[in-house]
């Protein structure tokens, strides 16, 4: 199997060709997904991933808006918004229910709705926007609602927790889907490797309160860390379950979507083995001892006959000369939870996983909502709670609520996308998963399918309206343009004003005929600057680690655009390649801004720079008068 990163790398080099190829028409992504591409007036496109959801034909799952500026160059493309289409704004009844403390049930899901234009789960052009809104909401809660009364405090907190949880569930669903899409991308992918990477990293960080304040250049690290953590957790949990199954005489079945590693696992017991004494260690399994469970002896629930060879390997159904057992499902586990597998379904006790969630939520509602304990004033409670969580975590309890929420969201997605399950088993699991939800804002899966379709239609309509998506993109471009029109101080001031006015004021440059050309120029400049930044940061001798041709091309590009002489100077110091050095000198000379002249002066006075280069700088500085005007920031 070719790893996703290798695919990313290979595809990057062919980016130009790729864009041309994809631009032709909608692209199929294997059998699992289908992509629809809808042009949006003004030079954007709406990319929608379709898949199966709940076995209900092709359902639109995620839409992403790509701002292409109407051309075929990938270097100036920007991803703007992500919509998870089965995520909709809750209706009034749901909202009211979610504001009732200790109410952990779903009211009837809306049969209609979703006709409004859906809200994106993430704005990729301004990921921090959501963070500041959260910060404001928290401040409002803390300073306005919390001091009011127990009733207001607990209901507002309950509402906020539920809506945050809901957003997280759908963010994770979007992420899981994109990861699947990434794994199944063909050699003609829908999203370029960099785009896919950006999408996944931002969605990952969106799960954290301040995650989307992380700088763009740290996305790589964030994504790698998280995927590495997930892979490690999966491996560990896979082994825990396999070994425990072995010890307890159970059957272990890892579950994976095609092309991906196992993300879930089932434990089964053979009906034929029941009634015989057997060891059992349930510490990390979270289920009761099946060998002492009389209910299993007269089990009438779901079971499945399976065939095994002499080595215990699973065979196709009905294989002759094999061992056959009637297997009863005991539990389904998520493997991504840190330290221990997370029991998601207990086939003998539907209430147990739900009970754990309800207990946890009730504790939180009571402590923070009703009693009004605060992290600062009542730190001892939270310290005690953390201590308790630590100890129970050491004993194998799944204490990480955020991870549990993620696992819950993943398993919904998993069951929706996987068609290898026996229909009855799938139905049984879906039923039990629906029971697991404690969030009144959530809809049943069947409702979500309907919502996804209606919301997609609403989004399409919005995309075609002249004052719809196209207008929104145009306004975003005008915001984007502030980066090259104004200096750093002005940009900070605009941001402060934006945050201070709670988003009411956003500075935008004027549009006009030149807008597209200006944005195009800015994006290409940024592309080259980011490339050179990466080159410079990669090590002490760039000619060892990078192909010089591309580096020289980028140096020429930044020189043409008159930007980042600092990077060019750094590059000069980090190379022993005379041709590149000469290119850097020419670039600094061409930029000829105060900043570039300052860099040249520094290099001229640097004893570590060879005399012949210092002489060259000296000659250029004395022969060229400083240019007027600013530039070269």
């Amino acid at each position: 199997m070719i790893s996703s990163s290798i695919i990313r790398m290979v595809v990057f080099i062919c980016a130009g060709l790729w864009m041309e190829g994809v631009a032709q028409a909608a692209t199929a992504q294997g059998d699992e997904f289908h992509l629809e591409r809808v042009p949006v007036p003004g030079g954007s496109e709406l990319l929608t991933v379709f898949g199966r959801l709940d076995g209900d034909g092709k359902v639109p799952l995620v839409s992403v808006l790509r701002d292409t500026l109407g051309d075929s160059s990938p270097h100036n493309d920007r991803l703007r918004y992500i919509w998870v289409l089965n995520y909709s704004r809750p209706n009034l009844i749901q909202r009211a229910a979610s504001a009732i403390p200790f109410f952990y049930y779903r009211p009837v899901s809306p049969e209609k709705g979703g006709n409004r234009t859906p809200a994106p789960v993430l704005d990729l052009s301004a990921p921090a926007k959501g963070v500041w809104k959260d910060v404001f909401d928290s401040a409002l809660q803390m300073f306005a609602f919390d001091p009011a009364s127990a009733a207001i405090r607990s209901s507002t907190r309950s509402y906020r927790t539920n809506s945050n949880d809901l957003r997280k569930v759908f963010t994770v669903q979007g992420l899981t889907l994109l990861a699947r899409l990434d794994a199944s991308q063909t050699d003609m992918p829908v999203f370029s490797p960099e785009e896919m990477f950006q999408l996944q990293a931002r969605l990952l960080l969106a799960e954290k309160k301040l995650g989307n304040l992380v700088a763009e250049n740290r996305l790589n690290q964030a994504y790698r860390k998280e995927t590495s953590r997930r892979d490690q957790a999966r491996g560990l949990n896979w082994e825990i379950l396999r070994q425990r199954a072995e010890l307890s005489g159970l059957y272990f079945e890892p579950l994976a979507l095609a092309g991906d590693g196992p993300s879930h696992a089932m434990l089964w017991v053979a009906r034929e083995d029941l009634g015989k004494p057997h060891r059992f260690d349930g510490q990390l399994l979270g289920i009761s001892d099946p060998w002492k469970d009389a209910r299993l002896l007269r089990w009438e629930g779901y079971s499945q006959r399976r065939w095994f060879d002499g080595d215990g390997r699973l065979l196709p159904a009905g294989q002759t000369n094999s061992l056959s057992y009637d297997l009863i499902p005991l539990a389904l586990y998520g493997l991504d939870h840190p330290r221990v597998p997370l029991r998601l379904i207990d086939f003998r006790d539907t209430f147990s996983p739900r009970g754990r969630e309800m207990r946890d939520k009730a504790m939180q509602d009571l402590a923070i909502g009703v009693l009004g304990l605060s992290r600062f004033a009542n730190w001892y409670y939270f310290a005690g709670r953390a201590g308790w969580d630590f100890v129970s975590g050491r004993f194998g309890a799944a204490v990480n609520r955020s991870s549990r929420l993620r696992s819950y969201s993943q398993v919904r997605q998993f069951l929706s996308l996987d068609d290898s399950f026996d229909a009855k088993l799938r139905e049984e699991m879906m039923r039990r998963l629906n029971e697991l939800s404690t969030n009144p804002l959530e809809n049943r899966l069947q409702t979500e399918v309907k919502l996804a379709r209606t919301q997609y239609n609403a989004l399409l309509a919005y995309a075609q309206k002249p004052d719809g998506l196209a207008r929104r993109v145009e306004r975003d471009r005008r915001v984007e343009l502030t980066q090259s029109v104004h200096g750093r101080a002005a940009q900070v001031a605009f941001e402060v004003l934006n945050i201070g006015s709670l988003g009411l004021y956003t500075h935008r440059e004027s549009g006009g005929q030149e807008l597209l050309a200006n944005v195009d120029r800015q994006r290409k400049a940024l592309f080259n600057a980011m490339y050179l930044q990466e080159v410079v940061e990669s090590g002490p001798k760039v000619e060892v680690t990078w192909s010089m041709e591309n580096v020289r091309r980028s140096v020429r590009a930044v020189a043409d655009q008159g930007i980042r002489p600092d990077l060019v100077a750094k590059l000069f110091r980090r190379t022993g390649d005379d041709e590149l050095r000469m290119e850097c000198i020419n670039a600094l000379h061409k930029i000829n801004s105060p900043a570039s002249r300052a860099e040249m002066e520094r290099l001229m006075g640097d004893p570590d720079v060879a005399p012949k280069w210092r002489d060259t700088f000296s000659g250029l500085l004395s022969s060229t008068p400083p240019a007027t005007g600013s530039g070269g920031q």
Binding site: S5, L205, Q232, G235, Q243, E246, W546
Partner: protein, 764 residues
């Protein structure tokens, strides 16, 4: 005197072409993986995926295509051979003393740091062990002031300043935004630590007096154990690559650039395959079951099954896991454990069992304490003393020898050291020259010896008490078991016969008499053949195609003084034999055998076998073997063996087994005795993609076996013009760990002809 030495050393160094070596030690990096990524082009950069390795070593240096760890692919023994240039005296990542149950916990860094901080120790335990055996390290060839050693396994002393600077730099030299991002992404102390080690190295590269410098990285080993994801593993190698690039660049601008050799070496490989989880089999748990013998088991760390708070305690070195079903030692897990296990490294486990006859004696003693008919009592009493008498002479010789050696040690080292000895003050100059550390090292060694001797004396006392018992008048109810059976001791090693007939408890009907009214030795005890038992283990859940249903590949045990017996079943056995030829050179051969059994007298019998597929090491069927099968039966020198089989699935397994089971004697008799007592009863080798780790799970990959994927290691060198190291050269001839040290010393013009490994040809 020391100053004079430095001057002389400086003069000597001036004559050598290579005046300085910088060694990059990469834990667990497999040569095959490194080479594969070096050859691949990164489409984003247009260069190799590991551009610095490619630039420095493929284009400007020498690479060894077939460099192997000798012996098992375990970190401690592998680094021991690389760092000493001698056959390994350390045979595992943890070792146990059979008489005292002392655990040589070679990988316990936390204890080392604490001991160092409290001046209870100076060096890592593996270094202390080598010091006790008077085996100097490579760094010991250079004066204290000429060495810069990083944090690593065979570490002498702790440079606390590295930690201090790391913490300072972490928070004071970085922008707040960067710290914020890191907080959100996850704090990585290891990266800062590695960066600080590099900074220290760069600072020392500027000092011309430093002629030995090294840096250690375990990034790859760590991640590959945890995850088989190739992206994560490549990321670790990229980190190593960037580090090597920075070091190379720093060398270029250092004072001795032209005379500096940059060397990259790894201790072993790693068995990690994308899409395959390495499966663990819990031997601790298994040995505690009735089927496994009902043993209370000692390990050096808490098994993961003890998934609880005490698993966090870092200073633990002896963990007693009670048997789930014990036949006669209920509630005595801490007094009388009967098995000790070192599964670390994970593709193999070292198993010690308490001497089977000590089990017999204790079972009979417990019977004697109960009421029973007179004839049975007489028979049991006779049986008890029959066993004691059978061993009496052997024990007497053994204990006398040990006592004499301890006395010699006490007088030679003037034990115990006085309490005031540690308080000695040192001048700044003495500290600069490392004299304070040498002194403390010596005092600590004497304290250590004192402790060892006290523990052995306790064992000797109890054994003498047992031997002093007389049949006439022996009343088991009046003698405490603790006075007869040494607690926390395994006694003498088991013979092959004992391991094939190991007594794990009374028989199904208890102690019974035969027709003649004597103890029925066969029916009175439940016996286990451990070789067959381990090989018979099969698992129920076999969900990965490439993973066999049997966790155990084969077992290995010493068969006489000059052979090791490998068994994959009664008709699939191999004897690896060794001898020294007329020219004083080691020779080895392999013989297929069947039905090998040990006899009670210490001998063994077998029937000759034939070469066929499925024998341990799979030499017959392996297309990588370059000789006809009959060649394997003949005596050949080890270089010939290495050349013939290094490309097979088990690469240099034949030599590795010799290295593991043969012990090169050391001069000091007491130390020699101690090493002998650390010898394991038997080894179990895991099948491909199986492991025996119990401390935590290592689903990503493992090492420790003889499989080529685990033993194939990295060795690359590049140097300035005056070092004479070839450029762009690949050495295809196979070499192992023992060639590393002599070749490095040769580069520096400091040849030591008494080192056993051959020089690597073609470096210069």
């Amino acid at each position: 005197m020391r100053v004079l030495f430095i001057v002389l050393f400086g003069a000597l160094a001036a004559c050598a072409e290579t005046k300085r070596i910088v060694i990059v030690k990469l834990d667990g990096v497999p040569a095959g993986v490194l080479e594969r990524y070096m050859a691949e082009t990164n489409p984003r950069t247009g260069k190799s995926r590991l551009p610095w390795f490619q630039y420095i070593f493929a284009e400007r240096g020498v690479r060894l295509a077939n460099f192997y760890t000798r012996g098992l692919s375990l970190s401690v023994s592998s680094w021991s051979m690389l760092d000493t240039g001698r056959p390994t005296q350390i045979k595992g990542n943890a070792e146990y003393d059979r008489y005292t149950m002392w655990v040589y916990d070679y990988l316990n860094f936390i204890t080392f740091y604490f001991k160092n901080a409290l001046k209870k120790g100076v060096d890592m335990e593996c270094v202390e062990t080598l010091d006790d055996l008077q085996q100097p390290l490579l760094i010991d060839r250079f004066p204290y002031g000429a060495v810069h050693q990083s944090y690593q396994l065979f570490q002498r002393g702790v440079r606390w300043k590295t930690l201090q600077h790391m913490l300072q730099n972490r928070f004071t030299t970085r922008p707040i935004k960067e710290l914020f991002d890191e907080w959100q992404i996850g704090i990585g102390i290891d990266t800062s630590f590695q960066a600080q080690m590099e900074t220290d190295l760069f600072a020392n590269l500027k000092k011309p007096e430093k002629v030995y410098l090294d840096i250690f990285s375990s990034d790859y080993d760590h991640i590959a154990h945890l995850a088989q994801d190739p992206d994560a593993q490549l990321a670790a190698l990229e980190k190593n690559d960037a580090m090597v690039g920075r070091i190379y660049t720093a060398i270029q601008s250092s004072p001795l650039a032209e005379e500096t050799a940059l060397i990259v070496v790894s201790d072993h490989g790693m068995n990690s395959t994308e899409g395959v989880y390495s499966q663990g089999f819990n031997l601790v748990d298994y040995l505690g079951t009735a089927e496994g013998g009902g043993h209370h088991v000692v390990t050096n760390r808490y098994p993961l099954q003890a998934y609880r708070l005490k698993g966090l305690f870092p200073f633990v070195f002896q963990v007693f896991t009670p048997a789930s079903e014990t036949a006669y030692l209920e509630g005595k897990a801490e007094q009388y454990p009967t098995a000790m296990l070192d599964p670390d490294g994970n593709e193999r486990a070292d198993v010690h069992f308490r001497n089977s006859d000590l089990n017999v004696l204790q079972i009979l003693y417990e019977q004697l304490r109960r009421g029973m008919p007179q004839p049975l009592r007489r028979a049991v009493l006779n049986g008890f003393f029959e066993v004691v008498d059978r061993h009496r002479d052997g024990w007497e010789v053994e204990l006398k020898q040990l006592e004499a050696e301890m006395e010699e040690c006490k007088s030679e080292y003037k034990l115990p050291p006085g309490p005031a000895e540690k308080k000695k003050k040192f001048t700044t100059l003495e500290k600069k020259l490392g004299i304070d550390k040498s002194y403390l090292r010596a005092v600590n060694q004497r304290e250590r010896f004192t402790k060892f001797i006290a523990a052995y004396e306790s064992y000797v006392r109890t054994m003498r008490n047992l031997m002093a018992q007389k049949r006439d008048g022996f009343d088991a109810t009046k003698v405490k078991g603790d006075d007869l059976f040494p607690q926390r001791a395994m006694g003498d090693s088991n013979t092959l016969y004992q391991l094939q007939n190991y007594v794990v408890g009374p028989g199904a009907q208890g102690i019974v008499l035969d027709g003649a009214g004597k103890l029925d030795w066969q029916r009175s005890f439940r016996r286990v053949n451990y070789f067959d038992l381990f090989l018979a283990i099969r698992t129920r859940n076999n969900v990965q195609k490439p993973v066999a249903v049997r966790p155990v590949d084969f077992t290995a045990a010493q068969a006489g003084n000059q052979a090791v017996w490998l068994s994959a079943g009664p008709d699939r056995q191999l004897l690896v034999e060794w001898r020294t030829n007329g020219a004083g050179k080691l020779e080895l051969r392999c013989l297929p055998v069947v039905n090998l059994i040990g006899d009670a007298g210490g001998g063994m019998h077998w029937d000759p076998g034939v070469w066929k597929a499925g024998l341990p090491l799979e030499l017959f069927e392996d297309p990588g073997r370059t000789t006809p099968p009959e060649w394997l039966n003949e005596w050949h020198e080890e270089r010939e063996w290495l050349r013939a089989v290094h490309r097979t699935k088990y690469s240099n397994g034949v030599i590795g087994l010799y290295e593991q089971f043969h012990r090169t004697p050391v001069k000091d008799k007491f130390q020699e005795h101690r090493r002998r007592l650390a010898r394991t009863d038997m080894m179990i080798f895991a099948n491909d993609h199986w492991n025996f780790n119990v401390r935590s799970f290592n689903p990503g990959g493992n090492h420790g076996s003889l499989l080529r994927v685990s033993t194939h290691s990295v060795l690359m060198m590049a140097g300035g013009a005056r070092t004479g190291i070839k450029k762009g050269s690949v050495i295809e001839a196979p070499y192992d760990s023992l060639s590393f040290m002599p070749s490095v010393l040769h580069l520096m013009g400091r040849d030591e002809p008494n080192l056993p490994g051959p020089l690597i040809e073609g470096l210069q």
